[in-house]
Symmetry: C2
Subunit: 213 residues, 2 copies
């Protein structure tokens, strides 16, 4: 049991170390030796856990997906409307992208054309947003005539824009940037009574959880 | 003169070939031999034009910047308002990203953390958007209370989102996606009389020029 825990911890630290190396290395070829030494393990241990560099890259993508779903679903709160959930989840995602290198690299891998087979975080995020917007529509939160498809595309595109721009300048992932987008979008997206109740800065629970500034 | 023209043409075809190889290769290391053979020139010719792979990458970035500015400024038309120019430029950019591999790769290079020194297309696009939104404000096209900073951030983030999502699925760069975003944003961004005159699908001239569907 202890041995299994230690193996799991080594695996996690290799995934984190790989993400750090990918994050800094950009498009240049990452070195497995650098990854294992950063994780404080031998090359042999790396090869015990991951048969190939591709397997390690896939593990980073899968770990990032688990984190993404934890962030999005973690924004749920009792009594919260679906649009508020969407607002909160975008704040939580921005906060998590600032802090979590594995999540950041997971999204970057999504855009890598040479890796068509792996986990596509952007696609998973799109599905999550779509589901939430559809539920908002079903509950009558959306303004009459507001297009569900247009709303999904705008929210997904803008958050993915924050993500890529945030790799160079963290201001794109600040709470004020995210809130500014919602202030522009919400009046055309939701009905007037829903609008009055929504907090574009994110609800209190999310602000506390992700240290939203 | 003829010799200079031929040299310029060889240089351009090497830049295009490099962009095609980068576009397909993702984060794996691109091969200079593949680039020169795709361009139909010898390895010697490649090294005559570009002293190093870094120089070739920089040339792709610079060529992409020239194209970006041509696309954005090419959306200008006589008598056009500044917000309509912004709408038209985003349609033109989406159309150009669908068709132009050098432009596409130029934006991708912007996000490459290992290449901090080169041309940053995203930063140039942001400056262009900011200038245009400020001119729209100066001319009284914006709605009272519409935040210039929020508008700039939203337009830049959403277009960069379309760009990165479009590398995997061209539907993100379709005219209907771009128009859908503007339909959501325009009512909160511009005054009512300006709104009535704006075409979210892009003006006729831009539709013709970029084959916007």
């Amino acid at each position: 049991m202890v041995k299994q825990e230690r193996a799991a911890r080594t695996r996690d630290s290799l995934i984190r170390s790989a993400a750090e190396v990918f994050d800094q290395g950009g498009s240049s070829a990452p070195s497995l030796t650098l990854i294992s030494s950063r994780a404080g393990v031998s090359n042999g241990a790396l090869h015990f856990h991951f048969a190939s560099k591709a397997a390690l890259v896939d593990a980073v993508g899968e770990s990032a997906l688990v984190r993404l779903l934890a962030v999005a679903n973690g924004a749920r709160q009792p009594g919260q409307g679906q649009v508020q959930l969407l607002v909160d989840a975008t704040h939580a995602l921005a906060g998590a992208l600032r802090a979590d290198v594995v999540l950041r690299v997971g999204f970057a891998l999504s855009g890598d054309a040479s890796r068509a087979a792996g986990t596509d975080l952007r696609q998973h995020w799109r599905s999550w947003v779509e589901r939430t917007v559809r539920q908002a529509e079903a509950r009558g939160e959306l303004r009459r005539g507001a297009g569900v498809r247009e709303a999904v595309m705008a929210v997904v595109a803008v958050t993915m824009g924050f993500e890529v721009l945030g790799t160079r300048d963290a201001a794109w992932l600040s709470a004020s940037t995210v809130a500014g987008f919602w202030q522009l979008l919400l009046p055309t997206l939701v009905s007037a009574d829903v609008l009055a109740a929504i907090d574009a800065d994110g609800s209190h629970g999310v602000r506390a959880l992700y240290g939203v500034r």
